[in-house]
Subunit: 193 residues, 2 copies
């Protein structure tokens, strides 16, 4: 085959592949990612489809409710990790450790993948905001105590923390989770360079 001909075929192949990928991206952007149907949920749950519809309008609503339940459970665990008599920085450390361990364990199930679906949901943003608000309040208190940097807004520091600690879902051992918390906390402490 002449070289030009091969190049044309290669270019054509590349174009088809690219078109398929662009299509995938466009479809997901438009329709979202929830592959699970109401029928599947009803069957898996062992209830009738009509019953399920009395409780949830669609599969996204089930997913949202599931995530709200998860976050509420996590908030309970985080609140329990706090000794109200301890200084804010100690309470923050306890909360971040607990949160990192929750991430570490839930990634071994399906939590990480599911949580990823939930960006588009209003309800879930509210659940996430409660979690972030809880962490942000602790950070604000520790900043007032002079234990953390004051050159970055507390909401940005809370967002940083919660994202950095999702790394706990990808590390293999509990010792690494501990080190991740140490590194993340170091980012929160004031340090001019």
């Amino acid at each position: 085959m002449p070289k030009l001909w091969t190049e044309t075929i290669d270019a054509h192949r590349a174009a088809v592949r690219d078109a398929a990928m662009d299509a995938m991206a466009a479809l997901v952007a438009t329709h979202g990612l929830v592959a699970v149907t109401m029928s599947q949920i009803a069957q898996q749950a062992g209830i009738g489809r009509a019953t399920l519809y009395k409780y949830f309008p669609d599969a996204q609503a089930v997913l949202t409710a599931w995530h709200e339940r998860q976050i509420t459970t996590h908030l309970d665990q985080l609140t329990a990790a706090v000794d109200p008599a301890a200084p804010a920085i100690a309470r923050l450390e306890a909360v971040l450790h607990t949160y990192a361990h929750i991430q570490h364990h839930s990634a071994r199930h399906h939590g990480g993948e599911l949580a990823a679906l939930l960006h588009r949901s209003e309800h879930v943003d509210r659940a996430q905001q409660r979690l972030r608000g809880f962490v942000q309040d602790l950070i604000a208190e520790a900043v007032r105590d002079g234990d953390l940097r004051d050159d970055v807004a507390t909401d940005e520091l809370a967002t940083y923390c919660l994202h950095a600690l999702t790394a706990a879902g990808t590390v293999p051992r509990p010792e690494a989770v501990q080190r991740l918390v140490t590194v993340t906390l170091a980012g929160l402490t004031a340090r001019r360079r």
Copy 2:
């Protein structure tokens, strides 16, 4: 209605709701999340379904290829951000800034949601590993120069960085992206407390 009766109904409602959520979680854990079908991709791409199947065995493969393409583009951008004559710490800062800005922009499209789907894929793990390897090598060099903490393994520091910087996808303004990079870098610098 007597109180006991109400409580029974409430308990029943809660049980049904919980069962639906458990079912959702189980289905996603088993079948994954990809809602898009090969037919939809072919139609959106304006190609025949048979043609599409010559290139990709299933929708997950399209997704994986899409993600590989994204990561490759990002690696090119990150490499371009580096001045080879600069010290490792300066190259690392440039790379982290560029990566944070990529996160900031791609979250405004569909990147964040799609990327989340890809944990289960072997291929994608390889693409992610190339990215992490690139960052890890820079960190290792900066540690040897004495510019970064040496009490945590470089692969753990690279994982921390890349997760912390995904927060750039959720902050509204470019200035906040800049501050996020500063805070993340502070976590990398040695500091015994």
